[in-house]
Point group: C2
Chain length 334, copies 2
């Protein structure tokens, strides 16, 4: 029993086309019939049927956001990306359909082919990502949040994780550190070649090598035990380590706690730089100098690119540059 244009037309004593034109404004309408129609619309609580409209408009104003659900990704961080995309989409009058990637690409293919969504945003892109090839075959525009090795000509944006890793390394090099450890995400994360994990680590290691420093890269597994083990391993292979680069939002607090338990003072005995959200860095004990992840900006950017694609423009890939915020957790090596 939802009301239709026909109902409104009857109620206002005009034709359906008049109602439609009042709504779209695509034709001059005399002030008094316009008012009459608007009154009827209000009285009947009429809203044009979205599906019917989408047939002619060839658009639904809905974007799909494909979100993989990985146990070892901090929900916190992932939520920021979702929020960034959601806010940006809503600001442009678009709605967001959330799709867990576990469903495979099938449902996404259905949604695009059936014109249920106008475009697709995909996050958590891997370096060698089998999904990208599939995404490239969809009948609707796609924007990747992340950079696959072969983008299949898809639009993509990213944070410059390599530069972020390098920035941390440079920062520690400038402070005179000689032996540095890179504490990254879990082995699983590297095994699936999550773009951010691989690139940040490579960026850091390359710069550390270029600056002639000794470096160890370790993975850190979930939970407190993962942290304990990682640090144990570290002090076996490189006991003289004086600085850590940490890119593992789940582990960061536990790493700091463990250092404290081991009576290793930050930054007196150990400098620490992290890749993590601002507030996590600020809230850590002690506060940690960090390169922050611009989740909101990335979301906004992704939506903008998708809109450009829908406009028929071919947007340039964008790489957001990192900035480091010193918070006193790293100090000059005396």
């Amino acid at each position: 029993m939802p009301t239709s244009v026909t109902d409104v037309a009857r109620h206002a004593g005009v034709s359906v086309s008049t109602v439609s034109y009042v709504l779209s404004g695509n034709r001059p309408i005399s002030e008094k019939t316009k008012q009459r129609v608007l009154a009827s619309i209000a009285e009947l609580g009429f809203q044009p049927h979205a599906g019917a409209r989408s047939i002619r408009a060839r658009a639904t104003n809905i974007f799909a956001l494909v979100m993989p659900i990985e146990r070892d990704v901090r929900a916190d961080v992932q939520m920021r990306f979702v929020l960034g995309v959601l806010r940006a989409a809503r600001a442009k009058g678009k709605n967001l359909l959330l799709l867990p990637a576990e469903d495979g690409m099938d449902e996404l293919a259905r949604l695009t082919a059936s014109s249920a969504v106008d475009g697709v945003l995909a996050m958590e892109i891997r370096v060698h990502d089998p999904r990208v090839a599939t995404l490239a075959t969809l009948s609707k525009p796609v924007v990747l949040i992340g950079t696959p090795e072969d983008p299949h000509r898809l639009a993509h944006i990213d944070f410059d994780f390599a530069a972020a890793g390098a920035l941390c390394a440079e920062y520690l090099a400038d402070l005179g550190h000689q032996q540095v450890a890179y504490l990254g995400q879990s082995q699983d994360t590297f095994a699936r070649e999550a773009g951010y994990a691989v690139r940040a680590r490579n960026g850091a290691l390359q710069t550390l090598a270029a600056r002639g420093m000794r470096a160890q890269a370790l993975t850190v597994e979930l939970g407190r035990s993962g942290v304990t083990e990682a640090l144990e391993r570290l002090f076996q292979v490189q006991p003289e380590t004086t600085a850590l680069i940490v890119y593992n939002e789940l582990a960061l607090p536990n790493i700091l706690m463990r250092l404290n338990e081991l009576d290793i003072r930050v930054p007196a005995d150990m400098s620490v730089v992290a890749l993590c959200p601002e507030d996590q860095a600020a809230d850590a004990a002690p506060s940690v100098s960090n390169v922050s992840l611009p989740a909101i900006e990335l979301g906004t950017l992704a939506v903008e690119q998708l809109l450009e694609l829908l406009d028929g423009t071919r947007p340039e890939p964008v790489l957001l540059s990192p900035t480091l915020t010193p918070r006193g957790s790293a100090t000059r090596r005396s």
Copy 2:
């Protein structure tokens, strides 16, 4: 240039109705024409237009999830609810449209009135929630995840937060504690009367009183300073406190850390019980006995209720019961 039934019909040399019936299976079709049609469908990559379909079907298979974005809610925890709903919806073949509540109810009213979604799930319900009255006027079924004082006859499900608070209190009472503190969420959270915050605290305080214990309820603000201040306040007003009930996922790790800094041992000097997700409790240092929040179950339940409503049934409100998992952070008061 998406293909339509007409294209398929032409390609297969049959009528449009035949194509439709092949798709729906609502009519016996000879095996050979069926195969021919299916071949054409596959070859053309045809998918029925979702919008057109939604006209006749009077359904889109899309649910809206309204998600308030509060600074002081742990994204982590909120994400679990979203995931719970998302998984449950997908398991039933439904898609999920994510809607930030900041947009007000207007967009939601539009989506429901325009038949863009089949139903609505609303989370983060407050005790006195002005949105509930609006939700009750929508033209599509609604399920509240949370319990307002006046549900306006809307379907609602919830975790029994009062019982959860009470369970923590009973547990500590049985261990012989006499002076207990309840460390809750931020003042803002209580100011807006978030159902979970208010009910858990009341449940705990009532039980503590009934068991003749002294109790202090404190709010804990965001960040490490919030924790420091709260504990300071606590030891001023009730220095002999021997047990804490913590319901503040953001603060829990910092509370444990602060206790450690103050040389207060858990559980020797201070017993701690928390309301928080399982893995956070397990990963804390030390592990914390907790009553866990069944986010996934709640999401599933909410989706089931919405499906029942769409079936025309009037589902019974459900309250999930709490269980406490001892992890050694609380001990008998000697």
